[in-house]
């Protein structure tokens, strides 16, 4: 797939694969792909969620919580909103 063909949804999907495998280097790669997705669409709520989770797991707690708060702003009624609120509180 050509580099120019990466949409925010494809970058998000790629990031999810890395995050869910979850080795330390995967979390770094996942964060990078989430950021690339957000560069294309800053309102991509799921990318804010994934980036927040990846940063939290990687030990960047404050930056992770900031991304999760942005996720909650964009998707306040998401199915996991209550659980994510507990993570950021």
């Amino acid at each position: 797939m050509a580099q120019v063909g990466w949409s925010e949804d494809l970058l998000f999907a790629r990031a999810e694969l890395y995050r869910q495998r979850g080795y330390p280097r995967d979390l770094v790669a996942a964060a990078d792909f989430y950021r690339q997705a957000l560069a294309l669409d800053q309102r991509h709520a799921e990318s804010h969620r994934g980036l927040g989770m990846a940063l939290l797991r990687g030990g960047e707690a404050e930056a992770g919580r900031a991304e999760l708060r942005r996720y909650l702003e964009l998707a306040p009624t998401a199915g996991d909103a209550a659980m994510v609120r507990a993570l950021v509180s």
Partner: protein, 196 residues
């Protein structure tokens, strides 16, 4: 209502397997060790423990047939270990629990495990919320899945990470009638769970 009960009965007959020697009655009213002796629960009604186990640290109970309702307990799953027994480690390895996981990662772990171990081709995590398991921070999540050529099932699970190990319990039943019928029995049972 009778038609729904009849449908459930037919489902039970259609999916029933021969009784296995290790199935046993679980009596009400006293604490029972489950999940490889890592948890206790105190049932307020009789349950049946099934001989078949999804993984070395798991066990499964039912009220009146695994096809109609099933509760799974898995305890002290260590980092680097899957939830269930591998079905095809080379071609489709199961995802592993990791101590770096957040509670919010557990539903993803369960979903991916179900897709491989149970052949759940359709599965969605419907909701997730904070909960407590014996005072420990936990996550309660609800999901829907369908195994190949089977009815749609709903599930509710509660999971906690304690001492770098994963503990989780789930209840599953066909979404038509059966799930709602036994949901409160499961919740009463889950509320009695204690770490050993």
């Amino acid at each position: 209502m009778n038609r729904l009960l009849g449908a459930c009965a037919l489902l039970l007959v259609a999916t029933a397997t021969p009784a296995r020697a290790r199935n046993r009655l679980v009596e009400a009213g006293r604490p029972i060790a489950v999940a490889h002796d890592t948890l206790t629960v105190t049932p307020d009604r009789e349950w049946n423990e099934l001989g078949w186990r999804a993984g070395p640290r798991c066990e499964r109970w039912t009220l009146d047939g695994e096809a109609l309702n099933a509760v799974t307990f898995c305890g002290a799953v260590e980092s680097g270990r899957p939830l269930f027994r591998e079905v095809s480690k080379h071609d489709q390895p199961l995802p592993h629990f990791s101590t770096t996981m957040l509670l919010t990662d557990v539903p993803d772990l369960v979903e991916k495990s179900y897709r491989i171990a149970l052949g759940a081709s359709l599965m969605t995590i419907d909701s997730a919320e904070p909960a407590r398991l014996d005072g420990e921070r936990a996550i309660r999540f609800r999901y829907t899945f369908t195994r190949q050529e089977e009815v749609e099932r709903h599930g509710e699970a509660i999971a906690a990470i304690r001492g770098k190990k994963l503990y989780w319990m789930s209840y599953e039943a066909p979404s038509i009638h059966c799930y709602a019928r036994d949901l409160e029995s499961w919740r009463r049972l889950a509320a009695t769970a204690r770490f050993r």
